[in-house]
């Protein structure tokens, strides 16, 4: 796990041993991480694992119980006010004014950040250009589709030219095309040097991040680039490899596969089964065994771990640890 080593003022975000307790519950338990400037930092974890709590701590909305954090070089304990001037935040659900038009929403946010008239005009023009909002300026926000609402929300969050944007599940509930377009926009902005802190449940989005972290019940259990995480020993234990069994009869095949010696775990992925098997496991034998039970095997081939595999493995492992510690 990467711990902050160099000067916290150089990072976009530097969190050191963050703890947040609500009464007897520890929602965030000793979490440290560092987000470099210009990164797209994907923050993942099951619902209720503490993602939103950490965003609130980093944006100065929630006091830290313990630990310290710097955002854009400013300490959130002492400079929360200044932090809020320099960040943008887009919350989980659409939280703009439905009964205001697109242009009115943008103007409202421009005033909140007290942009001078000239700069506000220029910024609103830029945002409209960048987010393609031109045709909708006079439309009420309520009448926009999910994807356009998110573009407007993003536009409002970045009107004051923050160098760091917190996006809390920005693509939840919008269609795949809008999702793809929003990510294209994020990449474009990232290219301009803006740092993104993004929470998501979508694995394909996680794969697009330059840096991902995974938290589970208030503990951070993975932190690194997607490629690094796939090499973790917990995910790919020594002496094992991953295979993919492609078959039209996945359910029945899975039931059988789980009883075949040498297969450590198996899960269905669409029309295939992903399995973790011991090294030198004989794939020809496996095919023969499945076919003997009447299953059509289209193909069996080696597979590299996906991020989903990574998180599923890590979650199982930590679930087991959690249960063991409770027992």
């Amino acid at each position: 796990m990467a711990t902050p080593s160099s000067n916290p003022a150089d990072a976009a975000i530097s969190a050191e041993h963050l703890v947040r307790r609500f009464g007897a519950v520890t929602a965030v338990n000793d979490i440290s991480f560092r987000v470099e400037k210009g990164e797209i930092f994907g923050f993942l974890g099951p619902n209720g694992s503490g993602k939103t709590t950490i965003i609130k701590m980093l944006t100065g909305l929630l006091p830290l119980s313990e630990g310290d954090a710097w955002v854009q070089g400013l300490n959130v304990r002492t400079d929360a006010e200044a932090v809020r001037e320099r960040i943008g935040y887009m919350s989980q659900k659409f939280s703009l004014y439905d009964d205001l038009t697109v242009l009115e929403n943008l103007t409202f946010y421009g005033r909140i950040y007290s942009l001078p008239a000239e700069r506000m005009r220029r910024r609103i023009d830029e945002i409209i250009q960048l987010n393609g909002l031109e045709p909708y300026l006079k439309r009420l926000a309520a009448q926009l589709s999910g994807g356009w609402k998110q573009r407007l929300a993003l536009g409002c969050a970045m009107l004051h030219e923050p160098k760091l944007l917190f996006l809390d599940e920005p693509t939840a509930g919008i269609d795949p095309v809008a999702r793809r377009q929003l990510w294209d926009l994020l990449f474009e902005l990232s290219g301009q040097g803006i740092t993104f802190f993004v929470t998501t449940h979508y694995m394909d989005e996680a794969e697009r991040c330059s840096h991902v972290a995974y938290i589970y019940y208030g503990k951070m259990i993975a932190d690194g680039t997607p490629a690094e995480l796939k090499q973790l020993p917990d995910v790919q234990p020594a002496g094992t490899e991953r295979i993919e069994i492609i078959t039209p009869e996945v359910t029945r095949a899975l039931r059988l596969a789980r009883h075949i010696p040498g297969i450590r775990s198996a899960t269905i992925f669409g029309e295939s089964i992903h399995a973790l098997v011991e090294d030198h496991f004989n794939l020809v034998d496996l095919r023969a065994q499945l076919q003997k039970d009447g299953i059509t095997v289209t193909d069996i081939r080696p597979l590299t771990a996906s991020l989903e595999d990574v998180f599923v493995e890590l979650t199982y492992k930590h679930q087991a640890l959690l249960e063991a510690s409770r027992a």
């Binding site: 944006t59 909305l61 809020r84 659900k93 939280s95 703009l96 946010y109 909140i112 950040y113």
Partner: protein, 374 residues
Amino acid sequence: MPNPFRGFGAVFYKEVLHVRRDPGTLFFSLLIPLLQMTVLGFGIDTNVRQVNTVVYNADGRQESRELIDRLKNSDTFHVIRYVENDHDLNDMIISGKARVGIKIPVDYSDRLIHQMSAQVLVLIDGSDSSVAGQAINVTTSIGLDESLRRSVADQTAPRAVDMRPKLLFNPDSRSPNFFLPGLTAILLLNVTTFLTAFAIVREKERGTLEQLFVTPVRPFGLLLGKLLPYFAIGFFELCNIVFFMRFVFRVPIHGSVLLLAFLSLPYIFVSLSLGMLISSKAATQGQAMQLAFLTILPSIFFSGYIFPRETMPLGFYIVSYFVPASYFINITRGIILRGAGFQHLWIDALALFAMGTFLLVIAARRFSNKIIMT
């Protein structure tokens, strides 16, 4: 033939669960009628008692003191102050501190001793016709009784004590004149407390409030920005109500309309702050509605709008001091009916202003502490 009642059992089961999950709503809907009943049951006392009374005893001798004692013993009058001149006597009534003023002339005892008839002036605030009627009846009968006692002792004496009631303000006892100025206070709550409470709770429901807190907006900036438009709306509505009262219901306004406008500002301020406080507590517009109703009820029952405050049981009377409408009703009735001026009403305005500031500070603190946390 399909069963037209299909699903009844399931829906019934689900509805019972909803009610059990939301005890707050049930509590309010059961509590409010009970509260209303308690208030109406204890509060309505058609026998007007303990009317605030001011006495100017210019005579001051034995006979005059006896008369005052008899008035006090009647249970109708509660002497709150003795004054030394006509000006103070009038002032006490105009400012609303007393509803009845009794003036015993300087030659009262002399005239009685010389077996002449003595007149006692009884000034009555006629704005509330039930109070006025009771005051007239009781003083007249005490006068008759006093005269009778004296004539029993001395057959030759004329009708000795002559009580002369004089209705000040609202001499024709029109009830719109009495009720409409008070109603102004209640109606104004609708556009101030309710609108502000809803305006903020709506932001909570939509999540826009949370979004705002991540920006440099500070609680006081937020609250003041929210408050001011509704302040203007509240003031505009007050003007409408006063216009209607004057020109449609023909209630004469004896005092200064400008003063009424000016002294309504602290009341609007209190009602808005109350709305803010409600919105800091309520999570949904439904809850805001319930809480707002809890503020409307005391404004109707404890403010003196329907029942004179003096005749309330002690507990309710104390409560009435914490109800902003009590002060504003005194202001509206004072200006409209009694022609009161700033010197009579500044204390009510000050009380309202203090309440408003207090509520606003609490609301702002709750916003900065609580809302952010949730």
